[in-house]
Amino acid sequence: MAASTEPEAALSVLPRADGSATYAHAGYTVMGSVNGPIEASRRDEHPYEAHVDVIVRPAAGVGGTRERHLESILQSSLSQLILVKNFPRQLIQIVLQIEATPENDYVNTKLVQASLNFPVVPALLQTAILALLSAAVPMRETAASTVVAVVPQGAKRLLVDPVPRDLEAAHSVHVLAFTSQDELLLAESEGDFTVKEWDEVYEAAKEICCRPRTLDEENDVGPDLRHFLRTTLEEKVAEDLYWK
């Protein structure tokens, strides 16, 4: 169901930020802004490289421990991608505002709950990367990310981009990201699972993030994120360089 839908994105939507993007996929909508390189506060100034500051803000309610955790995950991954050495003592500030999350019509949600939500990570990461590209922050490479859930039974045991109801049923949830060089950038897991299961998850995720799709194949493994990223950017660049 939700998994098969294509992601949507728009770049440089915020006129006053250095770079920005919105990204919507699998029920998640995230607005991202990037400012930088700018002057870092003494506190988080690093003498030899740029400090990447990631701020995740929930759609409703105050940010809490959960957001801090997401921020730390993203911060480490993005620092890998950005050429931080180019801007010592500088700050690259990434603000990710969650605008919408998929709603589960079958339960009433509380605002603050002590649970991680991995499924939002891919959306956050993609948004961040798009925003960084729109801000023309020098990067080593790009990346793509997805979430895989292991559900007890059903047609397929692995679910890509699971919807909330699947997550409730899932034994374990995994979020993975791969760089454009097919290297594993990020892997976080939650729940109980066997090594074998994880290997399967790894393959499935890599399939989605790395394997280029042929045009004719009907797309059931999920969207071709890499291709999506490229086309989105090409449109943007072409538009910017209309005068060339």
Binding site: P47, Y48, K85, P88, R89
Partner: protein
């Protein structure tokens, strides 16, 4: 009366001030010497002719009771965690953190023979980089962030920084990293060279011993 190389505890009597000179880790209370540290007691006999070692240009009063042996309590051997405060005259090794047209900010790593745990910050002002042609000195052509520098403490400085100087031949950059990120070797008194790219960069080079 403490025999040499025994253990002392803070507040332990070491001897009368009339017999000893107070060294590090001791203090005087009612004309007696007491230990102020938990450590090993050392008694060093005075070096003969203790006169001023350098800067003879200065008039220095003869250090009064120099003949007495110095008693000191040192942490060495007690714990590897020993912190010292850089002192005027100390030679220090430091890493360059930030440079501006006026000064280079450094983090002091080693003071004398002690590796520091806390981060003490130092400052090499443009006029203290070298002894000659001070007005021609450009910080950017003397230091780069990441360089390892040997310098001498010239003043306790302001609240945050010790003031350091590299205005001697054996002082200056010991280890330099090139823009490309490789370790370089010194080629002359004001240049380092990148072995890979062959590009050479200006530095205030320390004369190797």
């Amino acid at each position: 009366m403490a025999s040499s190389s025994s253990i002392a505890l803070p507040g332990q009597l070491l001897g009368p001030a009339s017999k000893f000179q107070p060294g590090p880790g001791t203090h005087i209370h009612q004309s007696n010497l007491y230990s102020s540290l938990l450590g090993v007691v050392h008694i060093s006999q005075p070096a003969k002719a203790p006169g001023p070692t350098k800067r003879l240009t200065k008039i220095t009063p003869a250090p009064a009771p120099a003949e007495l042996p110095t008693v000191s309590v040192s942490r060495s051997g007690v714990s590897e965690k020993r912190e010292v405060l850089p002192e005027v005259g100390n030679t220090v090794l430091c890493r360059v953190i930030r440079i501006t047209p006026r000064q280079a900010v450094v983090a002091i790593l080693i003071c004398g023979d002690t590796v520091l745990h806390a981060e003490w910050q130092g400052l090499i002002r443009v006029q203290d980089v070298r002894a000659t042609e001070k007005d021609k000195v450009k910080i950017y052509e003397s230091f780069r962030p990441g360089d390892i520098v040997r310098a001498e403490v010239i003043s306790l400085g302001d609240q945050a920084n010790f003031y350091l100087s590299t205005a001697r031949n054996e002082l200056g950059v010991l280890l330099a990293t090139s823009e490309a990120g490789n370790n370089m070797f010194p080629v002359n008194w004001k240049e380092y060279q990148d072995p890979e790219t062959g590009v050479s960069e200006p530095r205030k080079v320390a004369r190797p011993y």
